[in-house]
């Protein structure tokens, strides 16, 4: 039996405002419990919400960047349910009239194809507080610092067909919200969270199967794993003659499985209705135009430009533009070094990215800044050092031993370009290996590499490889 997965994602992106969506309390992460929960966030009797202007602007930025409609009129509604981290007994959200709707995002598939994923809507809402279970004897502690933090809930169409596509979409969205500077994207701190709706159906079938909603998956890796597990689980259920139940499931990263959330709770009846404390949000053309003119270059446009301007492949351009910081870094390196774009790309995507990954840091925090890397590339370009030696220099720079020139100087890594010296080394190598010289001269061309290796070894890697090649050829063919 051939099955097809149908997946839609709901992403909650915390908007990077200074103050909360409906109050003047700070949104800073990590404060002592309840010190950033003001009267409005606590839902004290009599308090009222007033909407943060920046939240509306950020939603509009997102809408424009995803080719969506930014609604001229949107309405806040109350979603009613009782939970201790929800102080008012309702969450202020948007229901029938969201601020953004009907757009799309193009993602790149593994085969290089582009797939368009529909964005159904993106609406504004307030985040809830946090329940803390540890350290208390049989009770739960409630911290409402997070309550009222602005969220943009981005709902995709069920256009995704595999866990890989889902991750590609999520990564693209993650990159986009950071480009737009509307969300810091910090998944550890919960700034970017994902719920996945997963169902399966027989290939060729048009109707959707019954879906399960997997809640609160907080990393790209877990999204992929959770969805794959869920697809397998549903296939098993259906193939053994069972039926998928519409329910909310939780992904347990430790066991790598999804499990049903205990739902003795009745089917939710949220009793949505327009929040009478808030008025309809109206956005006019002038506002939209102002937002549009302030948009940065977006990932897709930047990628196209990188391909064109720097002669990069689609793949390289895609990797370099995945984050705005990386793209900015790359451009700064090219700008400062004036080296070939491809050389710069190789270094940024190669040595630099590997080192960043290894140390688990972001490019903004790289110990080698763009100017320093440019300095290194300049020395490769002017033949002061070889590409191979450059890696040694890079390591020393990473370890904080100074800039490229200082490292080259201190370690005496300057390339030997003096043809006399190189010739001397080649002659010594030829003398020491008469047998190989014989074989080479009788046609065993492959041995050329052996001689290059020997010369480089003799020069401790410092001989200019181009010169070595040229002179070696001459002398061997004598």
């Amino acid at each position: 039996m051939q099955w097809e997965a149908v997946i839609g994602l709901e992403i909650h992106a915390q908007l990077a405002t200074k103050s909360k969506i409906f109050s003047g309390a700070s949104t800073a992460y990590g404060a002592a419990p309840n010190t950033q929960a003001c009267a409005v966030d606590l839902g004290l009797p009599g308090v009222l919400p007033v909407l943060n202007e920046e939240v509306v602007r950020m939603a509009a930025r997102f809408g424009l960047a995803t080719h969506s409609t930014v609604a001229p009129r949107s309405v806040f509604a109350r979603k009613n349910y009782f939970y201790p981290d929800l102080p008012k007994g309702y969450q202020i959200s948007q229901y029938e009239l969201p601020i953004v709707h009907t757009g799309y995002l193009d993602i790149e598939l593994d085969d290089g194809e582009t797939k368009r994923i529909g964005i159904t809507r993106a609406h504004l809402e307030e985040d809830a507080g946090k329940s803390l279970h540890e350290g208390f004897h049989g009770v739960t502690g409630i911290d409402l610092n997070r309550a009222g933090t602005p969220l943009l809930e981005i709902v995709s169409e069920p256009d995704l067909r595999s866990a890989k596509e889902a991750v590609a979409y999520m990564k693209k969205l993650h990159s986009l919200v950071r480009y737009l500077e509307i969300c810091d994207g910090n998944m550890q701190e919960g700034s970017f969270r994902c719920d996945a709706n997963v169902s399966i159906r027989r290939k060729g079938e048009h109707r959707f199967g019954t879906r399960a909603e997997i809640k609160n998956i907080n990393s790209f890796r877990f999204v992929e794993r959770a969805i794959n597990f869920e697809i397998e689980r549903q296939i098993e259920v259906l193939e053994s003659g069972g039926a998928v139940v519409q329910e909310t499931r939780l992904y347990d990263a430790n066991k790598d499985e999804t499990r049903s959330m205990r739902t003795k709770e009745e089917a939710n009846d949220y009793r949505y209705f327009p929040d009478p404390d808030l008025l309809p949000v109206e956005i006019d053309e002038a506002f939209i135009e102002a937002v549009r003119s302030s948009l940065p270059e977006l990932p897709d446009a930047k990628k196209a430009r990188f391909m064109q301007q720097y002669g990069l492949s689609a793949y390289d351009a895609g990797v370099l533009t995945a984050s705005r910081e990386m793209a900015d870094y790359y451009e700064a390196v090219v700008e400062a070094s004036k080296v070939d774009g491809k050389l710069a790309a190789n270094w940024v995507m190669g040595e630099l990215s590997a080192a960043l990954n290894k140390d688990g840091i972001e490019v903004e925090a790289s110990p080698i800044d763009a100017a320093a890397l440019a300095g290194l590339l300049v020395r490769i370009n002017d033949n002061t050092i070889s590409g191979k030696i450059a890696k040694t220099v890079f390591e020393a720079m990473w370890a904080g031993e100074g800039d490229a020139d200082a490292v080259i100087e201190a370690k005496g890594l300057k390339q030997i370009t003096d043809t006399g010296a190189i010739e001397q080394m080649i002659r010594e190598v030829i003398e020491a290996n008469p047998e190989q010289v014989e074989q080479y001269r009788s046609g065993k061309d492959k041995l050329f590499g052996f001689f290059v290796g020997q010369v480089m070894k003799a020069s401790k890697g410092k001989a200019n490889p181009g010169e070595v090649n040229k002179l070696l050829k001459q002398l061997l063919d004598e």
């Binding site: 606590l42 004290l44 009797p45 009599g46 308090v47 109350r78 009782f82 102080p87 008012k88 404390d277």
Partner: protein, 484 residues
């Protein structure tokens, strides 16, 4: 002193005929003497009142007093008062010392007014007789076996009995006007959005509005001046200049077109009340006003519409009372659900529970369209009726309540009959218009109220009409027997 108007009191304070402390003590003594019987106050603030009075006396002698500096007033217990219990008439908030001031409270403080105490009210402002209060019913000073009306029953009773020269009230479906009518005082519900709702414990957010309750229109104008104005903390509060409410009080009424909705004079209106209201309209005619018969064809929909909209909003507004961050918490909850259910079940009285349940039902899946959405549509029809009427008239006049004060306990077991006490006032809240009740005679020694309804933000004109009427009548100066 307690027979003086606010303006007279302010003059007395300014020319040092008496101090604010003397004035405050005078009212505190009256409260102690009479309120045991009336039960108009939930919390008396003797110490803070005297401290505020002394503070005001300094202001008065320094020569820069405002119109309310040193004037005592009673504050409905629905407004948050920092450091003072704010109960909303409910067991739920019996232990709630508010940690902040409502905007209205802050404005009174800034004006230098002296808060005598917090007045009794129907629980969470849900009631028309003040019998749903956790603190027991308020008695009508005109006849202690009758109700003062509600929900601002305490404020109305203490002003009527001259235990305070003025008070605040809130009006969601008639809660200022109906008790003002039943207690023979002047009460004004401003246009929705004219007075900040911040810190005023919400019953139904799209209907609630705070306003003044006083002996006369002139006094109400002074109070409203202090209360009205833009507040950035309330999204529904309107940013628009506030009129000078005292300036036009004496304007001529000549040529004023007064609309008389035929629906307000039909079945259901007590004959004695009708007679008094008609006589009041005759007086207005003598002052030059021209009556115009009008129709509000959807008037009959107002009460049923209200009893969907208000409970729907209240069911959500009152969810925050959950025993977690403030207010009543039940003893030894077994688990979270038990905490919620018993804290709310024990903390709220029966009428509040009824309304929460009606609202919950009206918003629930499968019923939303039939109830809530339909009511919102009906609300539009009702508002449109007024819009059409105000094309033809300047103000609308009619009875405030269908009857004079009824007996305590008379309607308490029959919610629907009780709800009909507000049959003439509710539509005004649904439309968001300003409305006023002024004393207009008596039926068997119980006061009758004349309701005046104005166009949006036309409070000044209502006060003008009321004041002119009060210049030629003396109903508003009458004081119930035993309280002189």
């Amino acid at each position: 002193m307690h027979t003086k108007t606010l303006a007279e009191l302010a003059r007395g304070l300014r020319d040092r005929s008496f101090s604010s402390e003397e004035l405050t003590r005078h009212y505190l003594e009256r409260i102690k003497r009479f309120d045991g019987e009336l039960n108009g106050f939930i919390t008396l603030c003797e110490d803070t009142a005297l401290a505020q009075a002394r503070e005001a006396d300094i202001q008065l002698s320094s020569g820069r007093p405002g119109p309310l500096t040193g004037i005592p007033f009673a504050h409905k217990d629905i407004f948050c008062t920092d450091g003072v219990r704010t109960s909303c008439g409910s067991r739920m908030l019996d232990n709630f010392i508010a940690p902040y001031d409502a905007t209205v409270t802050a404005r009174f403080k800034q004006a230098g007014a002296v808060m005598l105490g917090k007045t009794n009210m129907d629980e969470f402002a849900m009631g028309s007789s003040n019998e749903t209060s956790w603190y027991g019913p308020v008695r009508n000073p005109w006849d202690r076996d009758t109700v003062p009306g509600g929900s601002s029953g305490g404020s109305a009773a203490v002003v009527a009995a001259r235990l305070a020269p003025a008070a605040t009230g809130t009006d969601t479906g008639g809660s200022i006007r109906q008790p003002a009518a039943l207690c023979g005082i002047t009460g004004l519900k401003p246009t929705y959005g004219r007075v900040s709702r911040y810190g005023m414990i919400a019953f139904a957010s799209s209907l609630d509005q705070a306003g003044p309750m006083a002996a006369s229109a002139e006094d109400a104008a002074l109070l409203l001046q202090a209360m009205a104005g833009f507040d950035p903390r309330d999204s529904t509060c309107v940013d628009r200049p506030v009129d000078d409410y005292s300036a036009g009080l004496n304007n001529e009424l000549k040529g004023l077109r007064i609309g008389l909705p035929k629906e307000y004079f039909g079945a259901g209106l007590d004959a004695g009340t009708a007679k008094a209201v008609e006589a009041a309209i005759e007086e207005l005619k003598k002052l030059g006003a021209e009556p115009v018969e009008i129709s509000l064809p959807n008037a009959g929909l107002a009460v049923p519409t209200y009893y969907v909209v208000a409970p729907a909003e209240c069911s959500s507004n009152l969810s925050r009372f959950d025993g977690v961050r403030f207010g009543y918490r039940c003893e030894n909850p077994r688990d979270l659900e038990d905490l919620y259910k018993r804290s709310r079940g024990e903390g709220f009285g029966p009428e509040v529970k009824r309304r929460i349940m009606i609202g919950t039902y009206a918003l629930s899946a499968g019923y939303y369209d039939a109830y809530y959405l339909k009511a919102q549509q009906a609300r539009h029809l009702i508002a449109d009726d007024f819009k059409a009427a105000f094309e033809k008239v300047d103000v609308i006049a009619g009875p405030t309540a269908p009857n004079v004060a009824f007996r305590l306990g008379e309607k308490v077991d029959d919610p629907v009959t009780m709800y009909l006490s507000d049959v003439f006032t509710i539509a005004v809240n649904l439309a968001g218009l300003p409305g006023m009740s002024i004393p207009a005679g008596f039926v068997e020694e119980l006061p009758v109220g004349l309701q005046l309804i104005g166009n949006y933000f036309d409070e000044a004109r209502l006060l003008n009409v009321a004041h002119r009427y009060q210049q030629v009548t003396d109903w508003h100066t009458r004081i119930p027997k035993g309280f002189e």
